[in-house]
């Protein structure tokens, strides 16, 4: 598309962000009106999305300049040469995604899922996490019945005893834990290098034309991370309306995610610096390898392509 030129009406740049309702810094910034107050010379438009597919489409239609999608989607998007780059990690998935199994299912560890029915939302980060975990433990995924379900449906099937477990996120995870046990979480997997994250992307076009805007954007997100760390209570208070849950729940959900500030993201472990891209490129490539086994993509690009798809220059705050 070529509609990406954000029209500079009254000298202001229009910056259109596609966000998703996930308790991370961006949502916190929205909740505390940081975008309106802190952006200089920029009009921010926030559009809510439900799925990565729609974010991709909207970006291709030139309707948004930046957006949030899961790392699996980034891996396949890069493989398909979508014209965007990673500029920020909204959150690294931690305890908020986990494999939970029924208390009476007899599953004590991951090895026990053989022959059981496990539900997961196909195409999501949990799908990748689950299959990677199986692979890590050397379990043949064909020996497990893996079912494709959305969280709400998974919960229904769970309550009716139609599945033995599911790899899922909050708040469904919270409901399932009430009569289930957690076997493994994405935080555990992250430690084994199986990294999943909610990723901030921006169109290459916008990156080229308005680096200053993105710099401000990242700065605001960074500040939001800071404010969260300094006062979790205030943050939870602001966030509860966005999530439409109680303050306690809001605090809990936020806690499950791994929040990273700009400095941490610029480290080797994550995005790195423009000169030396971090390990996240490798994580994306790993994800792409997995996707290929799922027939989701036809070829896996080399590591270089993934490194090129990371634009960490905005993390450098001056």
């Amino acid at each position: 598309g070529n509609k990406t030129t954000s029209k500079p009406a009254d000298d202001k740049v229009e910056f259109r962000i596609g966000y998703q309702v996930i308790p991370n810094a961006e949502l916190l910034a929205k909740a505390t009106k940081m975008f309106e107050e802190k952006f200089k010379g920029v009009t921010v438009k926030l559009h809510q999305f439900e799925a990565a597919v729609d974010v991709n489409t909207a970006m291709a239609a030139g309707e948004i300049d930046a957006g949030l999608i899961g790392s699996s989607s980034v891996a396949s998007g890069v493989a398909q040469n979508l014209p965007y780059q990673v500029i920020w990690l909204h959150d690294v998935i931690g305890d908020n995604e986990a494999l939970v199994v029924k208390k009476d299912s007899g599953i004590k560890s991951l090895e026990d899922v053989v022959g059981k029915k496990i539900a997961v939302s196909f195409g999501s980060t949990t799908h990748y996490s689950l299959l990677s975990a199986l692979k890590l433990k050397g379990i043949d995924q064909n020996k497990v019945t893996i079912l494709d379900m959305k969280p709400a449906d998974m919960l229904a099937a769970w309550k009716q005893g139609q599945i033995d477990g599911g790899y899922v996120w909050y708040p469904t995870l919270g409901e399932m834990v009430k009569d289930g046990n957690i076997v493994i979480t994405s935080r555990d997997l992250a430690q084994d290098g199986i990294l999943t994250a909610d990723v901030g992307i921006a169109t290459k076009d916008f990156i080229k034309k308005h680096p200053d805007v993105l710099k401000q954007y990242i700065k605001i997100l960074d500040e939001a991370v800071g404010s969260y760390r300094s006062s979790k209570d205030t943050a939870a208070d602001a966030m509860k309306n966005e999530l439409n849950v109680s303050k306690e729940d809001a605090a809990f959900f936020m806690d499950q995610l791994i929040w990273l500030d700009a400095k941490e993201q610029a480290s080797d472990q994550y995005l790195g610096t423009p000169d030396k891209k971090g390990a996240f490129a490798k994580a994306l490539k790993d994800t792409a390898e997995f996707l290929k086994t799922q027939k989701a993509i036809q070829t896996v690009p080399d590591l270089k392509a993934y490194e090129d798809a990371i634009a960490p220059q905005f993390l450098q705050q001056d």
């Binding site: 598309g1 596609g18 309702v21 559009h47 809510q48 999305f49 439900e50 799925a51 597919v53 729609d54 489409t57 909207a58 291709a60 239609a61 309707e63 948004i64 969280p151 709400a152 919960l155 229904a156 309550k159 708040p171 469904t172 409901e175 309306n241 966005e242 999530l243 439409n244 849950v245």
Partner: protein, 247 residues
């Protein structure tokens, strides 16, 4: 009619009272009512409940209106002219069975993420039933009725306007009723992308956080407005075609 409403309510009450299914899926009437009053007072995510409802109804009405003024004439023409039918039918028959999901992407690419693509989706949903009804209506018009019009000097257009069209009205109304129901069911799908208002979006958004009480409020509101829209259409039908079932 009230008896069946009461029965449904009782069933609902019993199911939740006896805890057959978890409250996570089926909130009790009391909890739903509480959510409703709360939404009335505080709105949902920045907009009042009424705003959400009207916003959806607004999109729906526009889509329905445009579908009506395009589908019915096109359907009538298609029913009348084999050539037009041969050209239009394949397109219609092709897109008709497709799930909204499959062409919503295209709509977004063309119409953006604003109201236009949402309205377009609803439009497409409402179009097909009315078109089919109009085509079928025309084919059901007594041949001699058309003959009578032309031999009274009506030209093709006039025969259409003054004879074929009114003859098809009963079927068109059935089509309209089906269409509005159908468009309504795609409301959620249409408000899935880049929406922050609308009753469909409210239901969808609440579902992600398992707020079944809010979901139920939204669903019941959708159901009730659906009933009302249908009733209005039926009232109009009775007014407009008093001759139905007569000759």
């Amino acid at each position: 009619m009230w008896s069946s409403v009461v029965i449904i309510f009782l069933l609902w009450y019993l199911i939740t009272k006896l805890n057959i299914f978890s409250e996570v899926f089926i909130p009790s009437p009391a909890k739903t009512w509480a959510a409703f009053t709360d939404l009335l007072v505080n709105g949902y995510k920045g907009n009042s409940l009424l705003f959400h409802l009207l916003d959806s109804l607004y999109r729906l009405s526009i889509a329905f209106f445009f579908a009506l003024i395009t589908a019915v004439p096109l359907g009538l023409i298609s029913g009348y002219s084999t050539k037009v039918r041969a050209a239009l039918d394949p397109i219609l028959e092709f897109y008709r069975p497709l799930p909204p999901l499959s062409y919503y992407t295209l709509l977004i690419l063309w119409f953006g993420i604003g109201d236009l693509s949402k309205v377009a989706l609803l439009y497409l949903a409402a179009f097909a039933p009315m078109y089919i009804a109009a085509v079928s209506g025309v084919k059901g018009v007594l041949e001699d009725r058309i003959h009578s019009a032309t031999s009274l000097g009506a030209n093709q257009w006039q025969t259409f306007r003054y004879v074929i069209f009114p003859s098809c009205l009963p079927e068109i109304f059935t089509g309209m009723r089906t269409a509005i129901g159908f468009a309504y069911t795609t409301l959620v799908a249409s408000e899935m992308v880049a929406a922050v208002s609308g009753i469909g979006w409210l239901v969808l958004d609440a579902s992600k956080y398992l707020r079944s009480d809010i979901m139920y409020v939204g669903i019941i509101l959708m159901g009730i407005t659906g009933i009302l829209l249908d009733r209005i259409l039926r009232k109009i039908e009775v007014k407009v075609i008093p001759w139905k079932g007569k000759d």
